[in-house]
Structures are given as structure tokens and as C-alpha cells.
């Protein structure tokens, strides 16, 4: 069984919504679309207050290198361009749109369900199209996708890796995409292979999703060089370096990118987004979102346009249960706790996970038992407890020597600690201090 080399944990899977087919969420009346929804420089707005826009129309144009376009998810009027609050409570510039029910789309966008499997564009045209349609990595980091396909000088990739692991508990959006859009995903993978000039794509799926593996194998058999690999169900199987190791047995050197070992990694959701962009000229303006939780009345998967308020989505699905204690965007292991639900979705919003008060309460903290479970669980082979102690005593240089910067923040250490120590919390503090020290060195 293919898996990663070190550590790992197995949290309760709780894939409550995996049998619910993707439903289309109705258009909201008003929407807020952040100008920048990716990692990198913000794009520059090309529309003004009062402008009428169509769905799919360009709202802000990427001008820097690491940057992505933002398109309008709606037909309507821009009422203002002002700051809005995101899920973490930060104020960021956004377009406020009054949504018009006519839902008129920009010309040249194919909204039909017909599968277009013939790839007519060449390598550069594909990359240009990915850039133009505002595609970002949907695994969570929101890194502009086209940059991954413009390899640095002297580097060569020989393997495309598709992350369809979905090792996070509760999340089922990638699973539903594989069940319902396997054809589109495979064409997307073919396009990515062409853009990268590689012959092989490996798709990693955890073995707790046998139906998805079956469906993907069935479809992939029609194509040459798409290999579906079943992986052991173990968290963090979907972490980039761990996934590359599980699929190719190559070890990405510390501090380097996957391309160092000839790999480029993208999420399965990104493959579908690329299919839509390249074959259908469809910009990235909606996402598949899992709304779930143990006491949530009906866990399900929705297709929601970017800019919809989370609160509206929650209310549409029956509202917050009485015992809600914490709302998370993303999975339970690496997701972000939401502090404001009057905030809009963005390109990478993959879930709204509602936890009960009981689940949201952390373990009682006791003295460290020196049991070593954190070291045993760390997929990067670090000693979290040592880093924790170094962070508490503010020994940043020593923390750097003990590889603090290699931490991928997967949370296995904090998950497994019987003494309930806030291990990862303190390691994050160490990382930000080591990072500051490192950049100070560069300036000198």
C-alpha cells in the first residue's frame, strides 16, 4: 500500500455528506467579491462604481507576475468598491454587487454540460488561458495556477501529480467531483499534461473512497498515462511533500519546491477548473462547498458562486444548530476557524464545517508526559515537543537549527498529544520569528 514515510495520524473520518449530490445554490440578492482572492499581488480593478457587469466579465486584471484575474460571478451592478470583512475579520477591498436575476453571461462562455474532450490549444495558449480565466489552486493555498506551469530556468518536470486524497475529515467536495465530474477531471488532467509536456499523471486517492477510485479508474482507462493510485487512509496523505513521496518515492529537499524532484502538484478540483477554463472558456467564479457537522441537520455539497455570504448559505441549509461552538472553513486539521459569518465565499472556500461546543473545546492541559507521541506522529520527522520548549523560552536560533521551518503545520502533533499541549500554536510562533530572523539576514 502506497503511503508517506514518517508519522501520520488517523482522525475520525466523519464524511457525513459523501452521499449527497452537488446541488446548485440559488443566486443571492447581493454579493461581495474580494478584488484579490489568491496568494500574491492584488489585481487592478477594471470596472467602476455604477458599472453594469455580466457574469464572467473581468473585474480586476492581473498585472504583476504572481497574480490572478478576478471575474464577476454575477450579472448586476457594482454599487461600490469598498472594504469588506473576510472570514478572519480582516478588512479587504471588494466589489459590492447588486445581483440581477436575469443572470446574463458574457459571450463566448460555454455553459452547456457537453463534454469537450478534444484539446485544440497548444502549450502556451493553454497556460495563457489558465491565467486569463483566473484559475488558482483549489487545494487551499490559492496559488495562481499558471505559474506552476511556467517552470523555472533549467528545471524539468516529468510527472504531474493530482491531489485527490481529501485526507481532511468531513470534507467531501473532491469526492463528489470525482463521482460526478470524472470525465471533465480527466480531460483537465490531459490539458495539464500537455501544458507541462509530461507523459505521466498520477492521481492519488485515499482508499476510504473506493467508489471514487473505481469511477476514476474507469474513466482514466480511456486515456494514456493517467494512473489512479489508491493510497492508505492516513492524515496528512494529501500534504504536498508527503503525497509526492507516496506516489513517486521521491523526497522533496527541505525548503525546495516539488519541481526540484520533477513533479508539479495540483488538486483534482483545479483539474476541473482548468477543463472549464480551457475547453469552455469558463472563468473560476464558483466552487463546490461541503456544509457539514455532526449536529448539522442535513450535511450536503453545494455549488456556490464566489461572493455569496456564508451566513446565507448556512441559513439556506437550516441555520446554525443550538449547540454550535465553532465554525471552520476547510477541514478540521488545517482549516481556519471563522470569526465572521457575514463574510463572502472566495475561490477556495471548500467547506463550512460546524462543530458543537463539546467538539470545539480543547483537551485539558497537563504537564508534558514526554511520551514522544508528537515525534512519532510528525510526518516531517521533527520533534514537536523540543520546538515547543524552544519557542516557550524564545530560543529562535536553536529552533531554526532544529528545523522549525520544515514544519508543514499539519497539526498531527497537537492532535495526538495526550497532555493537550498547544504544540503547533507555539511552533507557529517559532516559525514566524525564525522567518523574521532569516529575512533580516538577507537584507544585510
Amino acid at each position: 500500500m502506497n503511503t508517506f514515510r514518517l508519522g501520520g495520524v488517523h482522525p475520525e473520518e466523519n464524511k457525513l455528506s459523501n452521499q449527497s449530490a452537488i446541488e446548485i445554490f440559488p443566486l443571492p440578492k447581493q454579493a461581495i467579491v474580494f478584488i484579490s482572492q489568491h496568494l500574491g499581488a492584488p489585481p487592478v480593478p477594471v470596472v467602476n462604481k455604477g458599472d453594469k457587469v455580466k457574469a464572467g466579465q473581468l473585474l480586476a486584471k492581473a498585472e504583476a507576475f504572481i497574480c490572478a484575474n478576478t471575474h464577476s460571478p454575477y450579472c448586476g451592478t457594482i454599487t461600490k468598491i469598498d472594504v469588506a470583512v473576510d472570514i478572519s475579520g480582516y478588512k479587504r477591498p471588494a466589489f459590492y454587487i447588486d445581483v440581477d436575476e436575469s443572470d446574463e453571461w458574457e459571450e463566448g462562455i460555454d455553459r452547456s454540460k457537453t463534454l469537450v474532450s478534444e484539446i485544440t490549444l497548444d502549450k502556451n495558449q493553454i497556460i495563457e488561458r489558465i491565467k486569463d480565466r483566473g484559475i488558482v489552486g483549489l487545494g487551499g493555498a490559492a496559488f495562481p495556477t499558471h505559474i506552476k506551469y511556467m517552470l523555472p530556468e533549467g528545471k524539468k518536470a516529468d510527472c504531474l501529480i493530482i491531489n485527490a486524497v481529501e485526507c481532511e475529515p468531513y470534507l467531501t467536495s473532491d469526492y463528489r467531483v470525482m463521482i460526478e465530474q470524472a470525465e471533465e477531471a480527466c480531460v483537465g488532467i490531459e490539458i495539464m499534461k500537455k501544458a507541462l509536456g509530461v507523459a505521466i499523471a498520477k492521481v492519488g486517492i485515499e482508499d476510504n473512497k473506493p467508489e471514487a477510485i473505481k469511477k476514476m479508474k474507469e474513466v482514466a482507462s480511456k486515456y494514456k498515462g493517467i494512473e489512479i493510485v489508491s493510497l492508505k487512509t492516513k492524515y496528512p496523505q494529501g500534504a504536498e511533500k508527503q503525497l509526492i513521496y507516496a506516489l513517486t518515492k521521491r523526497e522533496v529537499p527541505s525548503g525546495k519546491l516539488p519541481v526540484e524532484v520533477g513533479c508539479v502538484v495540483n488538486n483534482i478540483g483545479t483539474a476541473v477548473a482548468i477543463y472549464n477554463a480551457v475547453q469552455k472558456n469558463h472563468p473560476l467564479i464558483d466552487n463546490i462547498l461541503t456544509i457539514t457537522g455532526k449536529s448539522f441537520p442535513k450535511p450536503r455539497n453545494l455549488q456556490v458562486r464566489v461572493g455569496t455570504m456564508l451566513k446565507e448559505v448556512i441559513e439556506y441549509c437550516g441555520g446554525l444548530p443550538q449547540d454550535s461552538g465553532k465554525i471552520i472553513s476547510g477541514g478540521t486539521m488545517m482549516g481556519k476557524a471563522i470569526s465572521v459569518i457575514e463574510a463572502p465565499t472566495v475561490k477556495t472556500t471548500s467547506s463550512i464545517l460546524i462543530m458543537s461546543e463539546k467538539e470545539a473545546t480543547r483537551k485539558h492541559e497537563t504537564n508534558c508526559l514526554r511520551c514522544g507521541k508528537c515525534a512519532g506522529a510528525c510526518p516531517m520527522g521533527l520533534e514537536p515537543v523540543s520546538l515547543f520548549n524552544l519557542a516557550k523560552t524564545q530560543q529562535w536560533e536553536e529552533a531554526e537549527k532544529q528545523y522549525a521551518m520544515d514544519c508543514i503545520e499539519c497539526g498531527c502533533c497537537l492532535f495526538t498529544c495526550p497532555a493537550g499541549k498547544p504544540l503547533l500554536d507555539m511552533i507557529r510562533v517559532a516559525k514566524s520569528n525564525v522567518g523574521a530572523i532569516r529575512s533580516a539576514r538577507v537584507i544585510k
Binding site: S254, M334, N367, L382
Partner: protein, 323 residues
Amino acid sequence: MTLLTVSSSPHVQSRQTTQSVMWNVVIALLPAFAVGIYYFGMDALLLTLTTVAACVLFEWLIQRFILKGEMTITDGSAVITGILLAFNLPSNLPLWIAIIGALVAIGVGKMSFGGLGKNPFNPALVGRVFLFLSFPTFVAMSQWVSPKPLFEITDAITGPTPLSLIKQHQALPDIMNMFIGSKGGSFGEVSALAIIIGGLYLIYKKVISWHIPVAFLGSAAIFTAILWQIDPAIYVNPLYHLLAGGMMLGAVFMATDMVTSPITHKGQIIFGCGCGLLTILFRCFGTMPEGVSFAILIMNALVPLINKASKPKPFGHKTIKNK
């Protein structure tokens, strides 16, 4: 209006807590406890109740009046220390001596370092070794109460333990009896079978891993097998060594104490082998018949060094040399 929690990831944690770890150890000690009571009667029960009560009381007093920290007696660790201390003592020990042992175990062995998690040495062993050195006539190592079936109305008789028989080159009890528990010794360590059952439970519950017990017993077995091959007239069959004295109890319950053993599996194997080799060295070449307690305490002292030496190699640092 209730406020929602906002905290950084991860948002779930495993079910295992300090309490669950400790109480699972208590559960795992029960089979050996039951066998001990079967063979050594009410004395054993009374001794255990005394040491457990004394350990919990001393921890409470120290926390309450000296450390003034959060009360920790419900975490179960004082109960474990109490049980393990009793297991390492002869069942006919005067109770006042047992109470002194509990004071040393908890006071010196554990609380003086700051409580659970901070002690470098296994507290129960600290208490036991203190009693052994201070009250040698009561806690002698060669003459122990012989087992007698429960509720039989005779006075306790003392007799040699298998280890002192080994030392004096006398006939040994049957291997099967030693495995099940019908042999002289301190009362918790007589039944290898019961201890192994407890150990398997702990491995199943992920409280301990197999590394320390296997390294401990394995290295001891290999070492004694070599000696046995050299001269079977002086050195006995390795099986006797594994089953005699505190070897099983030490390997499964004392050396595996997570607080006083190394962090990584690699370190745990080094630690286990050290315990096994030292035990046999003490048994075969030392003045005393038994060496488990001292072997574990010495290895406890080496844990910080072992931790330093067995630091894991991080992922992604393999290829750096090639540059």
C-alpha cells in the same frame, strides 16, 4: 448571544488524555494484582491499599501546601506509583515501612521535581530502592514470602526466590509455575502471564509501544543465552532469567513509564537494550541476586543523552550532502 470559539488549527484532538493514559495503566496492572492476591492473600491486598492511599495522600499534601499548583491526584499517576511500589515489595512487609516508601516515592521521586512529567526517575523504583537500602532486613532480596493459596490459614513462610536459587546454584522451580506465578518473590512480579496480558492491553490502547519491552527482554535473553552456551553449569537457561524476579514487571511496566523513557522509537530500543544488559550484568556478576531496579534507574539517568543521540532525521534532509 453565545460566542463561537476561534482558534488555530487543528480543530480536533485524539481521545487520549493524560488521565486516560494513567488509568489504562492501572487497568493493565489489575491481572497481576489479582494473581498476587491469589498467591499471597490478604497481606498483599492490604499492602497495596496502604501504598496507594499513602501515595495519593502525600501527593495531595505536597500539592496543597507546598507546590500550591493545580490538584493532580485524579490523573491516576499516584495510584500507579502506589501499585507498582507494592508490587515490588514482599507482601509481609510492616505497613509503616511501606508508608515511608510511599513518601520517598512521591516526595523525592516525583513531587520534588515538579510532579508528573518532570521526574527523571521512576518514582516507584526510587521508593523501592530507598527501602531496600534502608531496611535490608525487611526488604531482603533473597528471602521472600513463599506463595500460598488464598485463605489458607497458615502463617506466612519465607523461602528463597528463584533468583537467589540461581545465585546459589540450587534446583529451580518448574518453568510453567514461574510463568503462571507460583514462585517466591515480591507479590506483583510473580506472574509473567498476568503481566504480559497487561502489557498487551497497553499496546492495544496505544499507551506503550512494543519497543522497550522487546528490546529489554530480547537483549537480556541474548546475553544470558551466550553465557549459558559458554558454561551451562554456572549460568542458567535464559527462560529462567526472563521469568524470574522483576524482569517482566520491569520490562512491561517500569521501563515503559513514558515520563522516564526516551521519546523516539530508536531511543527506546537503545534504552531497552541498556536495561536488559545491565540487569543481567548485575544478576550474573554483581553481589545481589536482582538488578532490574538499578538497571532501570541508571538508564533513566541516561535518557536525556539518549534523546540527544537519537534525534530523528527530518524528511527532506537526505539529499543535502550531494550538493
